[in-house]
Subunit: 352 residues, 4 copies
Amino acid sequence: MPSKRKVAILAATGAVGQRFIQLLQGHPWFQIEVLAASEKSAGKNYKAACNWLMESPLPKEIAEMPVVHTDVESVEKAGDVDLVFSALPGDLAGPVEEEFAALYPVFSKASAHRMDKDVPLIIPEVNPEHTALIPIQKKRRGWKGFISTDPNCSTIQLAMTLKPLMQFGLKQVVVSTMQALSGAGYPGVASLDIIDNVIPFISNEEDKMECEPLKILGTFDGEKICPADVVLSASCHRVNVKDGHLEAVFVKLEENPGIEEIEEAFRQFKGEPQKLKLPSAPENPIVVRKEQNRPQPRYDRDEGRGMSVVVGRIRKDPVMSVKYMCLGHNTIRGAAGGGILSAELMVAKGLC
Amino acid sequence: MPSKRKVAILAATGAVGQRFIQLLQGHPWFQIEVLAASEKSAGKNYKAACNWLMESPLPKEIAEMPVVHTDVESVEKAGDVDLVFSALPGDLAGPVEEEFAALYPVFSKASAHRMDKDVPLIIPEVNPEHTALIPIQKKRRGWKGFISTDPNCSTIQLAMTLKPLMQFGLKQVVVSTMQALSGAGYPGVASLDIIDNVIPFISNEEDKMECEPLKILGTFDGEKICPADVVLSASCHRVNVKDGHLEAVFVKLEENPGIEEIEEAFRQFKGEPQKLKLPSAPENPIVVRKEQNRPQPRYDRDEGRGMSVVVGRIRKDPVMSVKYMCLGHNTIRGAAGGGILSAELMVAKGLC
Amino acid sequence: MPSKRKVAILAATGAVGQRFIQLLQGHPWFQIEVLAASEKSAGKNYKAACNWLMESPLPKEIAEMPVVHTDVESVEKAGDVDLVFSALPGDLAGPVEEEFAALYPVFSKASAHRMDKDVPLIIPEVNPEHTALIPIQKKRRGWKGFISTDPNCSTIQLAMTLKPLMQFGLKQVVVSTMQALSGAGYPGVASLDIIDNVIPFISNEEDKMECEPLKILGTFDGEKICPADVVLSASCHRVNVKDGHLEAVFVKLEENPGIEEIEEAFRQFKGEPQKLKLPSAPENPIVVRKEQNRPQPRYDRDEGRGMSVVVGRIRKDPVMSVKYMCLGHNTIRGAAGGGILSAELMVAKGLC
Amino acid sequence: MPSKRKVAILAATGAVGQRFIQLLQGHPWFQIEVLAASEKSAGKNYKAACNWLMESPLPKEIAEMPVVHTDVESVEKAGDVDLVFSALPGDLAGPVEEEFAALYPVFSKASAHRMDKDVPLIIPEVNPEHTALIPIQKKRRGWKGFISTDPNCSTIQLAMTLKPLMQFGLKQVVVSTMQALSGAGYPGVASLDIIDNVIPFISNEEDKMECEPLKILGTFDGEKICPADVVLSASCHRVNVKDGHLEAVFVKLEENPGIEEIEEAFRQFKGEPQKLKLPSAPENPIVVRKEQNRPQPRYDRDEGRGMSVVVGRIRKDPVMSVKYMCLGHNTIRGAAGGGILSAELMVAKGLC
């Protein structure tokens, strides 16, 4: 790893952009070279352009960096970039990410290209073999770079727990979420809407949770991803919690493993990031808690520096086969941290 | 209805006891005659014995009433009582309620006797015919009075929405709850445990939700209740909301009704309380909201003065048949209000 | 009072506008004739234009009313209006309210005209004699109507408690507020900003609290208001409470009244609204609570249907003379309710 | 510093006890030797005895340590102890701490002995010279050890900001607090009491804040502490925040320094802990923020690893001289961290 790769962050002033900046501080492989944002931020320095929301202070050298407009020309002019992290909102990401991908590897948190046939939807521990789509995509589109996407934040933690259950013949999943405020970005949810309340609706979230896992858990047949033979149903709800999505998961399995066997499958679950010792890889992708009242968002969201998923309350289910709770940090593993881990995987595999 | 029935409230100083007092103010059929509580409250006047938690002020005449100890002798001495509301905690309720039932009709919010074979577990709109157990119970136990129980607060609202689905061949139910703080009584949940957090465990709650509906939805065969042929799975969670339990419900039906048909079944659902025009009966036991982000605890918990259940987001389910949200006020319909409605039903039926 | 006066509400779709609508339901003197709002709402019916935030349901006849644009011509065309309630934001209110005042009595919640020399800044219990500015204003400006303003929400409750202290030689006031989220309007404070947090700054609030009471407590000399000889210092903070501003008040008095004397002064305080039995007047403008931990926002904000100010913890102060807590409902007494009471006062006095 | 001092923690299972354990992990001078608690915990291992509330995991070696009863004999038997940290509740601490002080240096967070004439009430940056009471105390009481106390959590942060203002002739202080839930211990404040609410009363807190600073800011005359010539008034309130007390402070000064001068006095303020480079000393005891909406509990409480006090919004005061906000972490600087820093000071000074 001779020298650090230089990265640009698109939508660098938003909540996910800020998390990218925070997590890339002192990163051994990547260094921030260009910060891009919308027109109203471009031309300012970062400190002036951004309402810093992280609890850790805004790094001084970032504070003084100029913010450029989110277009290829401006980014090229601003620095020599090796790869791009995109925190663009879903509705803007589509064409903009394509422009960047013509030149750079783009790691996107946006939903725009997730279900594109030649774009991998990656959780590095779950489906690293889907990176095989990258050369296909580059060839087909005639791009020097490519687009790699991360799943929706609620989907990532769910899919990580579903993967080790595939061995038991996973057939059906019912999931009910209690999602954190930070998942809605900033300013996001109005305080008057959530005080003493729950909002039982998150736009498009249930669709994503019912659809994305089929691709993530699918198999690459040499050309494309064949979706997994699983059916999911999701009900998504916003609760008064800052960070950390909590999910009640009910699964139907073809086999009849014991609770200890399932617990062991969760504990043993490791993936390429652990084998390759990627810088952002948690030692344990899944941590199992035995207390009857865990995982809890405030106590468990920072497990593995926010990169582990915490599972608890694994028990037999009278209707399905098994039920359990899972929790993940929605803006670390579920957003910026997941994107960085994907980029690390691609670097380690020589794909960028 | 010549003169008002005189009632005693057991555990009158607790959170549910207070709600009984609040809801019985100005009640056309019942008037509070005796307030009973534990030893440390007995002998004080109510104002001194109780930490009043209701937002409406403590009624003046109640404030000055003496509190007596929770035993038959003390209650008898304190006044001429026609019936008893029990807000006793589950672990104390067992023998104490039996002593009272030897003399008085006892309407109990406690779990102790809910699953006793000869004790009805009543939701007046759902299974009023189960009151037929009363004469059987009285005869078998040789009591002048009887015990009638209300279900667990999370169960009541769920069972009310399941009843109109029985016509479509209800087979399986998966339910994930987001329950309010007041369900844990007072002082209940520590603020340090729930700020910026969710607690994914409520002791015994899942068992109750998986078990009680079978009895409630069961049929009386002339001698006993035959449990309904339904299987339930529950996952129960505490969220930072004052009042109002919200539940995500997924149901499997044998038939394949359309969403409009189900919505209509909810809307049309009425029961004996509505026919008999019982004083506490809401006009609509189930209210259907069409907005995509309702029901919400803060906005919908007071529907029908807290006696209606609010349903929303009825939609097709890819794994089960149908999913929807339901919400009820856990300390009104789910506790004191439900108990009062049961007592009204029995009075109207001449059972007490 | 032969027939009801017809009112228009400006900025009817906002949080204060909604409160006006809610409080005017069934009002004996006023009926809503026109709802006006910004360009993006004009032309829709109210239900479609507004995100209804009140816990009580949107009245059906209001839901179907058309919303017109906030200009004199549109309002005139929409109905025969007798008076106008303005919930306009401070920065827009200036010229718009003047246009309306040329034709109509305008009761304004906006800050724009509060400190104008010929515009009264009214709390009906405190300075009803300041309505004497109305004929002066009309003459000077050549208007058929006039502008009457209500103070800032934090100021109203403070000034109501200061008024009965004037008899003891009030000289200095230090006040530290804990203000509710609804004071910031909607969407207002982002949930991510206030969860597990306090925001120790509210734009312009301290200036208003230090300045407005001088006018309110001032004396009318036949031509103008001479400011009261009192000095105030305020520190304003936003806390995670839905409604109800709580204030810690420290006052310096020239005289040395006992605590009971002060308490009695608060209790005895009545004003013209009580004498005139105005429809929205609370029986007691100030309610004194004796418990050591009151007033509390959730328990006390609805006192007197939100129109009373609740005072508690009156005690000697080692630095100043006396300290106490006061609490008022910021969107009822502190906004729409206060405006309606002002209008009632003017009607009763024959000023409109 | 040849070998680490061995410490015992009294009331080790409570909220402050847990914070002591957390902060002493990897401490260069101190190592935990004995954990003591009440009868119901004694005999269990720590993990079983304690409901661990810290967000960082319970250290493994602590989890397995035995808990002994809080009496000198049990502690002596359990290990060779050099000094004692006491997190005992105020009402128990009196005689128990005296017993321990006969043998050991006792650093107490309890209020019991704070105002004893021969017991120092220490904030290491503010009044390190008060440690001169230690030899006087030992001699007078005939103890091998001694008692040193830390002020009340709200007082510590206030007094730290008052110290640099002494140079301007500090005469009067009015302070209004917004205090965190963790200040009430565990379970402490019931969630039903604080949701959508503020509690404007904390038992004994105002007395402590009005009294303790006089001793802390007082001068040692060779024999005793002569109280500072300052008068304070406090109003104390509990808000829905996990950690971090926020205070609005209004001060009257004899001199008339400019805002920049005061800001500079805060910034320049250092004390012995900084000179001696004590392990727990923050680089800056007071950090000044210039943003108009800071300090905020969630963003600023961890400044200096929770050992700095953050000051902001310094401005001229129309009634007093100057007003500002200050914030401190109530369970770190305000409790366990403050106690550890006091112990470090005594060790560095050769007093234990």
